[in-house]
Amino acid sequence: MPHDAQMLKGVLTLLLLRVLGEQDGYGYAIVTRLREAGFHDLAEGTVYPALTRLEAAGHLGAYLVRSDAGPARKYYRITPAGLTELSSRERSWRELLTAVGTVAGPDVTNEREVS
């Protein structure tokens, strides 16, 4: 089932900061990692500008790595400001989950097997 585009946009920054907090990566590799994590319908056209926005905001740094396959790849890495932003967004996300769970019931926010 495809994800709601607006909801996905809302958490994209959190996802990107989390993924890059674990390991540096370049544009397409980051998209691939997110798709493998279950965001199959995530478009490159959404991710790349978000990376640019995070870089412009100082939450990500970047460096070039030569590639045998073609042009040098631009790798992103999380900055101290990005780590702070990540903590803040994770806290907000938990608070949102709690609030949604309070209204909609724990079944909505807890992961469960649907048979």
């Binding site: 370049y26 544009g27 397409y28 590799a29 998209v31 691939t32 478009a43 490159e44 056209g45 790349y48 500008p49 978000a50 640019t52 926005r53 870089e55 412009a56 905001a57 100082g58 740094g61 970047a62 460096y63 070039l64 790595v65 590639s67 396959a69 073609g70 042009p71 040098a72 790849r73 631009k74 790798y75």
Partner: protein, 177 residues
């Protein structure tokens, strides 16, 4: 052959992306970085999922460039300002010429010949003049381009270019790896 065609398709999209980045006021060095990054990502994506899917992934170059330019921070769009300023200047100058012709028609209709008739035309207010030859064989007309045209063109340029974005825009920088 296919590899060459694929590269050509990618390059075509990269160049269109660059055109729209330029339109959105992204400076040349930054555009070079963004082009290079997109090219690398597209080639990688094309290797894994095919060039068609790779190009579909970024959507239209126009929209993708706009999103990237917005994400990169607001900046003046000098080329947009220039297009807009020139368009307003051309249209207003044409309208002014039409009113000039109206003035000359008026002078002809009045039957005055052999001397210069001057005045101002609505709504421009700038001085214009016309003279019909005594024998009616020719005419001369002249005028000063109204200040309003220059001011409105300048206003259009400023509105399009948004030079106030020079202050407070943030720029991404590559750091050593």
């Amino acid at each position: 052959m296919n590899a060459v065609l694929d590269r050509a398709r990618i390059e075509s999209v990269v160049q269109r992306y660059d055109f729209w980045l330029d339109f959105d006021g992204v400076r040349r060095p930054r555009r070079r970085e963004l082009r290079s990054e997109l090219r690398a990502n597209l080639r990688d994506a094309a290797t894994h999922q095919g060039v068609q899917a790779a190009l579909l992934g970024i959507g239209s170059p126009r929209g993708f460039a706009r999103d990237t330019a917005n994400a990169d921070g607001a900046r003046p769009s000098w080329s947009v300002g220039a297009y807009l300023g020139l368009a307003v200047f051309s249209v207003l100058t044409l309208l002014w010429l039409v009113t000039m012709l109206g003035f000359v028609d008026g002078v002809q209709a009045s039957g005055v010949t052999g001397r210069e008739v001057s005045g101002t035309v609505f709504p421009w207010g700038s001085p214009v003049s016309a003279e019909i030859e005594r024998d009616g064989s020719g005419l001369q007309a002249g005028g000063t381009l109204p200040l309003a045209i220059w001011l409105l063109s300048l206003a259009a340029f400023v509105a399009g270019a948004r030079p106030w974005h020079l202050f407070g825009s943030r720029k991404a920088r590559l750091t050593p790896g």
